[in-house]
Symmetry: C2
Subunit: 231 residues, 2 copies
DNA sequence: ATTGCTATATTTAGTCT
DNA sequence: CAGACTAAATATAGCAA
């Protein structure tokens, strides 16, 4: 085995082979990491060899990652981030927090989109008109929310954040994140409701009775299945 | 080195150590995969050891992945997927395509959200009122789009899809995806515009002159930097 | 708590089938 | 192409500082 030069493999054939082998290797390592250390992880690989980007630990896994997070209330999440070590010490740190906070929101949003789409194929509703009605509804909610946000400047039940982050209105942050997330999930869900599901292979898992385990075993279980299905 | 049993490591201490080591290992392997095979990849790991989920190949990398995709028009994307080998052969295959198609849209959506958020800190606009105005605007666009979709049943310049996928209106699929994506990106972007950026560490890279390379080297470059910064 | 070390386990590039 | 094989390269668990 020659020592690899870390650059694009010239030969098309062996490049693809390497890709396939290494993809499998990374998948395995991801699986081991999550199992051994009890963490959640997810990966996406785009490749010219597959029309659809590959996702780990599968839609179901990603779904669960999203679900787990959603079990925490937004307030809890916010509070948790606020309780960290040396947050209040300097303005710079507070700014950094704000960024991280926002990053978290968006990553969550991202996973929520995935979740909203991946898990709801079996929901009802049957035509474009319903789609329009649902979306309109979400849009109205969003509009109302934005209006009240602007008009009375407060409309949230979340606890106030510590001073210093005040450069951005924390209520606005939280509320807005919730609103956008809600709208997007709703839209995606409704959209998916219009896909006929009788012949969909993807729905098989969803039709089976859904069973909860305790957190860690639950994920381990899911991911193990996913991994086994993959090799 | 004992052979590992694939189960949660009992000892808290060594679990964390293993986590750190393996995380690094996976990162390296991801980097190698993308470099050697010229593909894009991205990973997310949630852990109790870091308050913010870790993302590869970093926000910038994810941003580029999203950008590249957006260079293709939606029409091109749709067409490309339609051109595949044996798509038209059976109804079942067509159904599968519809699902994959939708998956693609949502994954794109996901990355677009990431992109919309991660890269736009330095945009202007200063207060909640602006935020409200922009969002309102996107909402109106979305509403109009939905209305015209329902009323005249067609409003798209995308080529018609092959029969069989007709169970869901392909125009609606494409248009809707575009609309939701637009709304979400816009909202996220406007939202971010309200974050003061003077003290943000994250903005450093964005302030530097932006330079395009040819696709493959560009990504390789980005990811290499990311990787080097990480070890 | 990191860092380095090292004996093994694991991964994989090249090759053959 | 997809598997098996194997020598070599890597990754890493358990220690030690």
């Amino acid at each position: 085995m020659r020592k690899l030069k870390l650059s694009l493999i010239a030969n098309e054939r062996s490049r693809k082979k390497t890709f396939m082998k290494r993809k499998k290797g990374i998948t395995k390592k991801l699986h081991e990491l999550t199992t051994l250390c009890g963490v959640q992880a997810c990966g996406v690989i785009y490749s010219p060899y597959q029309s659809v980007p590959e996702v780990w630990p599968s839609k179901e896994g990603a779904h669960e990652v999203a679900m787990k997070f959603m079990e925490m209330s937004m307030a809890t999440r916010t509070k948790k981030m606020m309780d960290q070590d040396t947050y209040y010490q300097t303005k710079e740190q507070v700014d950094k927090l704000a960024v991280e906070n926002l990053e978290l929101q968006v990553k969550r949003f991202m996973f929520d989109c995935l979740e909203g789409k991946m898990s709801e194929y079996h929901y009802g509703a049957n035509d474009l008109h319903d789609l329009h009605r649902y979306i309109d509804q979400y849009i109205n909610q969003l509009t109302q929310r934005m209006k009240s946000l602007v008009e009375n400047g407060e409309s949230s039940s979340f606890p106030p954040l510590p001073i210093g982050v005040a450069d951005i209105d924390p209520h606005a942050v939280a509320d807005f994140a919730v609103d956008v997330k809600t709208a997007a999930i709703g839209a995606a869900r409704d959209f998916c409701a219009h896909i006929p599901y009788q012949n969909m292979n993807m729905n098989r898992n969803l039709q089976e009775p859904f069973q909860y385990h305790t957190s860690r075993n639950f994920y381990g279980h899911i991911q193990e299945e996913v991994y086994n299905n993959m090799t």
